[in-house]
């Protein structure tokens, strides 16, 4: 399977569509619009990569996610800031203990999942903000092994959470109630079928039925795997060699969006010959 670069969105600069210092998280909505969080704001781009709107965030964002109702959730330090689709603030969830550093967010059946890199785990809340349970904390390491400082996960259509555990060179699968269901991936050194370096993959997204897209650092690349850990594709074009913690999102047409945190740009790739089923 091969991918080709479709376009590059944003970049380092002072223009309205650019980021000055930081690009942390990306997300897609149902219409395929891209939400990028960095510096101290959220920017929305249309499917062609043109800036649609932008708005400021109260604190520097670490992550962004779009809920089923179109609300935009922005993960920050100690809190989550929630906006409507137009960028008007709705409310703020504060929880200094469970939202130490919110580096990923996800939704499933009315539940909100919060990746907290300060605690190296995921917390599940109901829609009202009531805490329900903790995921990926009950192990000898008392959390995920994330020397890279980011908890990142995706949720598939069955409510299975796929979370990057880079220190173990794995993507681990958890149920919503926190049971470890299994994992895929292992350290394979220079062999690209597995994961390399001290700690990869750093980020993960569900890429379709039984497919995951992950990103790695040093050298930076994105890869497509099936749930069993079979490597499907490698995408390694154009990333800055110093980039790490590249957030990733995949749309319904199989297009892969990868944030380069050094170039402060989002690279868009599309599968040659159409999406994988």
């Amino acid at each position: 399977m091969q991918y080709r670069q479709l376009r590059i969105i944003s970049g380092k600069g002072s223009g309205p569509a650019e980021f000055r210092e930081a690009l942390r998280g990306i997300a897609l909505d149902k219409q395929g619009r891209l939400y990028a969080a960095g510096d101290s704001e959220v920017k929305v781009f249309d499917t062609e990569g043109a800036l649609v709107r932008r708005w400021p965030a109260a604190l520097a964002p670490h992550s962004v996610a779009v809920a089923a109702d179109g609300a935009v959730w922005v993960g920050q330090t100690g809190q989550i800031e929630i906006f409507n689709a137009e960028g008007k603030p709705r409310r703020v969830w504060k929880d200094g203990a469970r939202m130490g550093r919110v580096t990923s967010l996800g939704f499933f059946n009315g539940f909100v999942l919060v990746g907290n890199s300060a605690e190296r785990c995921i917390h599940r809340f109901d829609a009202t903000g009531k805490f329900l349970n903790t995921i990926a904390k009950n192990n000898p390491l008392e959390g995920l092994h994330i020397p890279n400082g980011v908890v990142d996960f995706g949720i598939d259509a069955h409510g299975v959470i796929h979370v990057a555990n880079p220190g173990k060179h794995r993507v681990e699968r958890f149920s919503l109630d926190g049971a470890l269901l299994g994992h895929m991936g292992k350290f394979t050194g220079p062999d690209p079928t597995g994961f390399s370096g001290c700690c990869n993959p750093t980020n993960v997204a569900v890429a379709g039925l039984n497919l995951l897209c992950v990103t790695e650092k040093a050298g930076p690349r994105a890869k497509i795997y099936d749930y069993a850990g079979q490597l499907i594709a490698i995408i390694d074009a154009g990333f800055d060699p110093l980039t790490k913690n590249m957030d990733v999102a995949v749309d319904g047409r199989g297009r892969v969006f990868v944030s380069d945190t050094a170039k402060l740009a989002i690279f868009v790739f599309e599968p040659v010959g159409g999406p994988l089923s």
Binding site: R170, G189, D191, G197, K217
Partner: protein
């Protein structure tokens, strides 16, 4: 005329004052150096092996080859507060070597085998990756070649390992041979402060 004389006198006094101040500063520097208050140290933000942005290049080994001290007065030091305690440490393992039956790289990186890897806590028999690891550098073996430093820095690692001049080994030469050869001017004379002296490797036990 008297104005011109007074200007000359003023200039003369200024020059004399500057010279005296310079001599005083130099004398103070020499006194401090003699008292061990001024020492040679590696600036990690300049050193090729630890500065960010230098990727895909070989480690610089001048600290080993140029120092007049046996093995070198420069040693690699692991700051445990920054270490990721990884299962596969790129400063310990040669991560490009073949993977062995344990799922780990088959070769070590350090040519002098100066780094030891120790599991923290009890082993998980069901999952060997379920542990943090401590990496301790034996400074008596280390010759400051910087290979581990180069592999430890971001984006591959966290940059917890840096090169440091060990004051108890440094002869405090007036013209440090490493300093003269360092292409990045990374070895400089700095005030010795107690806080700068990173403690020797501390074990968790």
């Amino acid at each position: 005329m008297s104005d011109a004389v007074s200007r000359r006198e003023l200039l003369s006094k200024l020059v004399r004052g500057s010279v005296l101040a310079g001599m005083g500063g130099a004398a103070l520097f020499l006194v401090k150096k003699a008292n061990g208050e001024i020492v040679w140290q590696v600036d990690a933000s300049r050193c090729v092996n630890s500065r960010l942005g230098e990727v895909g290049v070989e480690a610089c080994t001048l600290c080993t080859s140029e120092c007049v001290v046996s093995l070198s007065a420069v040693r690699a030091v692991n700051d445990f507060s920054k270490c990721g305690r990884c299962n596969v440490c790129p400063a310990y393992f040669d991560i490009t070597s073949a993977v062995n039956e344990l799922g780990l790289p088959s070769q070590k990186l350090c040519p002098r085998d100066a780094i030891t890897r120790k599991m923290i806590g009890a082993a998980d028999p069901e999952d060997p990756a379920n542990n943090f690891y401590e990496y301790v550098i034996d400074e008596e073996k280390c010759d400051g070649c910087g290979r581990c430093v180069m592999k430890c820095k971001a984006p591959l690692g966290l940059g917890s390992i840096t090169l440091k001049v060990r004051y108890n080994k440094c002869l405090d030469c007036n013209r440090c041979a490493i300093s003269l050869s360092c292409p990045k001017d990374a070895v400089t004379q700095v005030p010795k402060m107690a806080g700068l002296e990173i403690k020797l490797a501390e074990h968790t036990e």
